[in-house]
Symmetry: D2
Subunit: 366 residues, 4 copies
């Protein structure tokens, strides 16, 4: 199989850096272009970036010249870690210009034309691509905290239905990017608020767990209540969750549903797929961000303290790596699913372009 | 008014140190005896203690000889910060020997003969003292996390009824005493478990909010689901709470119930009483442990982010100072309430000792 | 004595906030004007500031309208916590306009016309004010890390001479102001560099410990080598120090010199003066920022681990409160010394204005 | 080459766990026995250990039965991470019983019969093994902080001589093992004292940099002054260092000496050897524990801020991974050097056993 050249948008930011780190040595994708704000444009990537990863800048990327958002790109596939202040317009522009934007930004997640995808759960939503109005396409993955919650809800919703969810988060500072939170604000402290976060957790899972209908996604019917907190942890979002099911289930059935959950990435053994999407821990004090994030290279959702809840039905603790499965890794797995499903092949974007009832095979390459 | 001499049990521990710090300069109580394990006995307090407060050891206490649990004490009133491994038996012994034990330990909280008191809420439960089988008495205050939850639930329960509560805590390391948690366990980490804590939060409020009936306390009927977490914060427990009310109430009514809540300590202006037991913050990112604990010298419960909940009815964030209002300060306020209600006067313990229907005034002094 | 009205420059910054906090209830000074950048100008202080102190905004200041740097001020005395990017020019302007600027900023510290003062050490340097070329005046205090080092060196230099000093610092994040360091940069980390800090520590003590000569300050002749590090501590700079003396001294003599050190603030019992400028700790693991900063309300310099050094002569650990004695508190003590020495009286600035050999009493008031 | 079976002493402790982690997949050594205190004896390792590494327990070790110190071992080679409270006697016993103890414990480091080895520096000291009085042998590696200091001093001492060294450390909490420091002691704090640490840093380098003479090691003649501090960092010891050289050298010469330093591990490309023992950073704010520890898998010593010193000659910042190169990794590299030099071959211990002038080849195997 031929390597697919890709560009990274917002390449100097923390999500962009993680894209570049995770794509280093990837069997299918190769970073050939890096895009950042115009003040970095023209400089070699190594000089433009304030590199914060704990592995060095991959050699093949270090000397790439940084391109500005205005420049024409050669890559068909773009991974977007753009800041939400610019992602909205910029990603639309790229789609108009015929690029496939695989975005971690929040701007288009709830656009009814855009699939919000977790390949283990709703890879069928990628069919929305066939009806997108642009020459190119936009695909999104959820917010970091949504990711782990949706992952845990999916098997329960399939097996028993989920009616209501309470979630309280303890989120890492890396989720706010760099510079993000001042040390003086968060050292030895808890901040009981993250701007815009609760709204995302309360709505994104409904779309992800929704059904692809004739006129788009029909959202799932559950109610979600989220309370989001920032804690002095570098990486790893922890969430306490309580769930009300639609039909009765024993604790064993719930546990079994979580542990046996598998999806497309596992069936096709995609390069970034965790072997097991959900890990259930038995130790009463696990999972912990300082101990358990390396499991499945940060691509799994970790479940602990699964037991009955006196108010709703079951409760548990979730943990996930917010900058890997909760961000760049999620977008890369989306891209891998698109390869596996034939949307991306031979370096080009393939779809059944549909207008009303008539569909034609369409191929797009740069 | 004459000063009341008191002893501090478990005086070298972190709760004991806080008792000594908070009682320094107290208008009613004077620490005259300090009690610790037998390996400290006989040494001057200053040499026996590993002092961790950020004010010096009060001069009047520094040279007191440490007494062992076996020694006879002269003080009628004992503040107990004993470790739960010994508090159970030791406090019973002291009550048998005619002392009034005002305890922060968990051992006797759920004993049906022992009042579990927050003076703003259930000072009437102190009437249980009249029926206690011992020459002396035992009074307890709740667990640190329970304190702030019960304080917020009380006015809602009175005004509207509370049917169900979800609470997720982010608790400070000082709650585990000293040495408590190893730095390697909690630095930059979240531990999603605190041994025995959830059970306390799920049961203690039912007793506190219960009704004093003919045969003891009739617990309140609400369901509480708690998920407790340790976070890398030194002082201050934060709790996200969601509440289902028994009867409809508007957001304004809920807020007003919280803010206007007052009890005996406020009415009688007790020395350690907060002017206002519940403070409601408007700023979306408050209260925070690193900013707001000094409010009311750590004796208030701080409420933030009060708003509707998509799953239950209302949600909010609570914060309180776990080693002050959540521990030693709570016991001291209980003692002050006992003075105000006449249980403690002229250095003696007064009660209507009741056996069946017949009650007689009983006075006990050492 | 009449209260002296003062203005605070840079009032919304962290140093400005500390000025306002420390001046609340001050017996001599009263904050009547607050000055900040033009984008805050006109708004009430409470709305313009992001208040980060753990006591509330003093009521008398909360509603003061923020003035811009361009506006005319009524106060003669200005406390400056201006950012160094604007302090250089702005403070000169104020001095030209006849104000007495008591500054914590670094810009004019090494100006040969400007005294760099620690009242315990070199209050005589205030005589430079008599020769300053401006209608008003500028007085400075040293950098936070310099403060504690100079304070420990002064008695040793007087008694034995100091020839060489090695110092390695572990500085708190509050020293960088707000927002200052990103949490992602410093949580669980050490940064072995603070821009410009080593130069200050290596030069400022020479001026402070210098001699007031006919033509200005003759700097002390010692060599200082500094290595500055940022550590994840909120408040409190710790410094390991090693000193080579000019003449032999026993450990007891060194200790005695430190402990017995007193200066003008102690002799005149100035309102902000520590009773004892230098505290020497015996416990082998003290002083510690999380334990000992409250000593003398943050105005003392704490010394620990005093002992012989295998390379130079003696070594020790220093600790001080960087935002109190190391910043705003230092400037306030300078102002108090100016009152005590007659430079500030009846709300006016008095000096012997000297041009060449002829001096005349000069009084300046706004 | 045949695999050498080894035992790990103190296998449940933090050093023992690191031995097991680093030896997993080692090309020459295979862990076949694990030894711990008698209270763990008999249980499978997985049940006896509180595993704190962020990779799982290697499968081949997880089910090994824990042996007690009293039991006979089959392995000739023992890696010792024993606590210093038992290591002194236990390691002697093992040497008497014919084992080769490669120890990270401090007890025998300064024993004149025992080599204290860093293979890049003084592999020739291993010749002391030929004269050890025991059937087996004891080899030690230095204290964690000594390691990085000695590594930086070695090339300077060889090229220019080193006369005096000032070092101030900022050490990670993992250096104190588990449970080690209470969170309440070190969170947001600096502790300016580590029991016994300064003595080690001031003496161990003299032995390591000493010369193997006819009658043992002749220590190097330099003076070292150390001030040791604990900071809230999980892994990675940072040290500020200032050095006085014996003969003049330019900054370029000093830098070149550091960067070009190589030793036996590099020449023979030993499995755990860093390619380059000393890395010199140019960025003014590096190295940092949160960024740079992964360099060379934790086996290199990182140097930053190399420049002239106003007091001695040159100064710099050092950083190293205290639990890898500073502990278990150092012992493993010692063992690899012993294989390379022929002391360990075919699973047996070979030496020229010398008594006076007569030496005979001696082979020892279990």
């Amino acid at each position: 199989m031929e390597m697919i050249d890709v560009a990274v948008l917002g390449a100097t930011g923390t999500v962009g850096q993680k894209f570049i780190t995770l794509l280093d040595g990837h069997p299918w994708f190769r970073v050939r272009e890096v895009v950042a704000s115009s003040r970095s444009a023209g400089r070699p990537y190594r000089d433009a970036v304030r590199w914060l990863q704990d592995t060095p800048i991959p050699l093949a990327v270090a000397d790439l010249p940084v391109r500005s958002l205005e420049e024409k790109l050669e890559s068909t596939v773009l991974f977007s870690g753009l800041d939400s202040s610019v992602a909205g317009e910029a990603e639309l522009d790229y789609a108009e210009r015929g690029h496939v934007v695989i975005s971690n930004s929040r701007n288009h997640r709830m656009d009814e034309r855009v699939p919000l995808v977790i390949p283990e759960i709703n890879q069928d939503h990628l069919q929305l691509l066939d009806r997108q109005p642009w020459p190119g396409a936009i695909v999104t993955n959820p917010n970091c905290s949504t990711m782990f919650l949706a992952m845990a809800l999916a098997p329960l919703h399939r097996a028993f239905g989920v009616e209501a969810v309470q979630v309280s988060t303890m989120q890492a500072v890396s989720g706010a990017g760099y510079p993000g939170l001042p040390a003086m604000s968060i050292m030895g402290n808890v901040i009981p608020h993250i701007e815009g976060e609760e709204e995302k957790i309360e709505t994104e899972p409904l779309k992800i767990l929704g059904r692809l209908g004739e006129y788009g996604i029909v959202p799932a019917g559950m109610r979600i209540g989220a309370q989001c907190n920032r804690v002095p942890v570098v990486d790893g979002h922890t969430e306490t969750v309580s769930v009300k099911l639609g039909s009765p289930a024993s604790l064993d059935e719930v546990r079994s549903a979580l542990e046996s959950f598998r999806g497309l990435p596992q069936e096709l053994n995609l390069p970034s797929a965790p072997l097991q999407p959900l890990w259930v821990f038995d130790a009463p004090d696990r999972p912990q961000p300082a101990r358990d994030l390396p499991v499945e290279k940060g691509m799994a959702t970790l479940v602990g303290r699964l037991r009955e809840c006196p108010v709703l039905d079951y409760r548990m603790v979730l943990l996930g790596h917010n900058t890997i499965r909760g961000a760049a890794g999620a977008a890369i797995l989306n891209a891998e699913a698109m390869v596996a499903l034939g949307y991306l092949r031979n370096g080009a974007f393939h779809r059944e372009a549909c207008r009303g009832d008539s569909c034609v095979e369409e191929v797009l390459a740069h």
